[in-house]
């Protein structure tokens, strides 16, 4: 769960007709952005920024909190809170600027009444059952919560126990869209040609807006890190060639080394299943002896049978390689390994051998 600063402007929470509140809030966001470029608008009058990096740079979380309050003091009064997860940070800001210690979120939330979770029906029901504080609610076993209170209950329970930081109603994606749009239309590029509308946050098509709402809902169900997007990058193995970034996290597009040559790269086609962690495997010859690769990059015997994660043996019908790869040979973290493609009667795998042990890195799914 991300550690977040929340900047809340109590006077700007409600949008007025002539848009003064919105414009003032845009100024606040810009003032906050001077300290960290990754400011996210949560809803009108509330924005958040990641705590870890900026706090370290400016000398501590309380110092940065003070700086943020000073920077925005001539625009409006703000409350700043910091905690693990958006929900707790928001509550910390609302209760007058508390710094909740790392992983102290459940203890911080425990004394609050269950009503703070924002679900009226759930709160009523819990109150009737005699469960009046978030701490009491967190103490219930998860399976009971799921059985009795459904998906909303689970989402609240995950927040109460500190396993998730988000609830469905916390973010208003449409408000963020509007605020970002206001900022873009203000002309941050004076004199130049009209800025190209950003594909996603600027010119918002109906399809995109619907997708944004859905994905935001999913984030509230299973946490913001649960929804990811794939980005490609350069690398030798299939696992290094893609990374998954949290959806909606503001992060620069780094096409690092995508077009660069990577000697030792496995030729296309790319495997459709890349295991998040390589699966341990055993490769034996017809005599049942385990295979290995010599220092010159040759197999010690002809592969006969393969077993992945101790599953039943399947016969190797064809194979290619091994292709040795000597990574970071200049440093101490030097890795000598070799990759091999193996077709078995069941699956087709990309194998990796390192220090005599075999792994299934990817599967041609």
């Amino acid at each position: 769960m991300n550690r977040l600063f929340v900047v809340r402007c109590p006077d700007l929470l409600v949008e007025d007709e002539d848009g003064d509140a919105l414009r003032s809030f845009v100024k606040v966001v810009e003032a906050v952005e001077a300290y960290c470029p990754w400011v996210t608008t949560v809803r009108p009058g509330v924005c958040s920024l990641p705590a870890r990096g900026p706090a370290r740079y400016f000398g501590g979380e309380d110092v940065l909190g003070q700086l943020l309050i000073e920077a925005t003091s001539d625009i409006t009064t703000v409350e700043v809170g910091v905690a693990d997860g958006l929900f707790a940070a928001l509550l910390a800001a609302r209760t007058g600027g508390v710094v909740v210690p790392p992983s102290g979120t459940p203890q911080f939330l425990a004394p609050f009444p269950v009503d703070v979770l924002g679900h009226v029906e759930l709160a009523e029901l819990l109150n009737r059952l005699g469960i009046r504080t978030v701490g009491n609610f967190a103490a219930l076993p998860e399976s009971h919560v799921l059985g009795r209170f459904g998906a909303d209950g689970i989402a609240c329970h995950m927040v109460a126990t500190g396993r998730s930081g988000e609830l469905r109603e916390l973010r208003q994606p449409t408000a963020s869209l509007r605020i970002d749009h206001q900022r873009n239309s203000k002309g941050r590029h004076p004199g130049g040609p009209t800025p190209v509308e950003p594909e996603f946050w600027g010119g918002v098509s109906d399809t995109d807006a619907r997708a944004v709402r859905s994905l935001a809902t999913v984030q509230t169900l299973i946490g913001p890190d649960g929804v990811v997007m794939a980005r490609l990058q350069g690398g030798r193995g299939p696992a290094q060639r893609a990374r998954f970034v949290t959806w909606n996290a503001k992060e620069g597009d780094a096409d690092s080394g995508l077009g660069a040559p990577w000697p030792g790269q496995i030729p296309p086609p790319a495997p459709a299943v890349v295991h998040p962690a390589p699966l341990p495997a055993d490769l034996i010859d017809s005599g049942g002896a385990p295979l290995s690769v010599t220092g010159r990059g040759l197999l010690t015997a002809i592969p006969h049978r393969l077993s992945v994660e101790k599953s039943p043996w399947s016969e190797v019908t064809a194979w290619a390689g091994p292709w040795p790869s000597d990574e970071r040979w200049w440093s101490r973290s030097r890795r000598r390994s070799a990759r091999m493609q193996a077709v078995t009667s069941a699956d087709t795998h990309l194998l990796l051998v390192e220090q005599g042990r075999w792994w299934v890195e990817a599967t041609y799914g």
Binding site: I154, R213, V343, H349
Partner: protein
């Protein structure tokens, strides 16, 4: 005027129930008459023959199963599923993949998927059905690899949601299985890799047979031979000896239906 004309068919009940029914009827009647393009999500040309309409019909559920009966990582189902998403994502639709922790992003892109419009929920956990339902609400194509065996009621509810929201659900049952009959069932079989031998060459392309069966207009089963992936990582038709035929079961059904 719609309410007036709707009145005769409104069933009797409490006033609120009646209002709701009337509203539903109204919504149905005022829905814009969809052109054939908006009823269908496009698929790549080599895959069009698998579907009776030549594309993914909105509101339908598709099951993709691989060559290994119990499902395994390398049974071809993932590649076929990703290739189904390709044309819709380049046409501007959003897609999502739920419950596949090892999605090969490189392969997805090579098959034609626009990664900027593909959301991945690798580990939905116990809330997988809720997650899928939320995605169905807002995305055009949702791929579900159920982490646990779905209960029939749960599956039926998701199928109903897909029909109501006019999106497309592609289920890769794997080991968990899928208790509902899909509109179209795609099966991968006869996989054969080219270019690899006993310690020589490398994996170049894979020839697969895809069999499509289904209900209603899709009862005619179709066999298609594809390179999945081809030497460049795309999906292309494998021309030699491509057969479009009838399986015995479907043929019998057709004969029986003949007046």
């Amino acid at each position: 005027m719609f309410v007036e004309s709707a009145r005769p068919s409104v069933p009797k009940g409490t006033s609120r129930e009646r209002d709701r029914e009337a509203l539903a009827l109204l919504a149905e009647r005022t829905r814009p008459v969809a052109a054939s393009q908006t009823r269908l999500l496009p698929v790549l040309a080599p895959l069009a023959g698998l579907f009776p309409d030549g594309g993914l019909r909105r509101g339908s559920t598709i099951v993709v199963s691989g060559a290994t009966p119990g499902g395994s990582a390398g049974d071809g189902a993932v590649s076929l599923t990703l290739s189904l998403l390709a044309a819709t994502s380049t046409a501007g639709s959003w897609g999502a993949v739920v419950g596949l922790p090892g999605l090969g992003a490189m392969a997805a892109q090579d098959l034609g998927v626009e990664l900027a419009r593909l959301a991945v929920v690798p580990q939905p956990g116990v809330a997988w059905a809720e997650v899928t339902a939320a995605l169905i609400d807002g995305l055009d194509a949702v791929v579900l690899c159920p982490p646990f065996a779905p209960r029939p009621t749960m599956a039926r509810r998701l199928v109903a949601r897909v029909r109501e929201r006019r999106s497309v659900l592609i289920v890769v049952p794997g080991r968990a299985g899928w208790p509902e009959h899909p509109d179209v069932h795609l099966r991968v079989s006869d996989m054969r890799w080219d270019g690899i031998g006993s310690g020589e060459g490398y994996l170049c392309r894979r020839r697969v047979t895809v069999t499509a069966t289904g209900r209603r207009s899709a009862v005619r089963s179709r066999h298609h031979h594809l390179w999945l992936p081809s030497a460049t990582g795309e999906v292309t038709e494998a021309h030699d000896g491509s057969v479009v035929g009838l399986t015995v079961g479907a043929a019998v059904t057709r004969l029986a239906r003949r007046p």
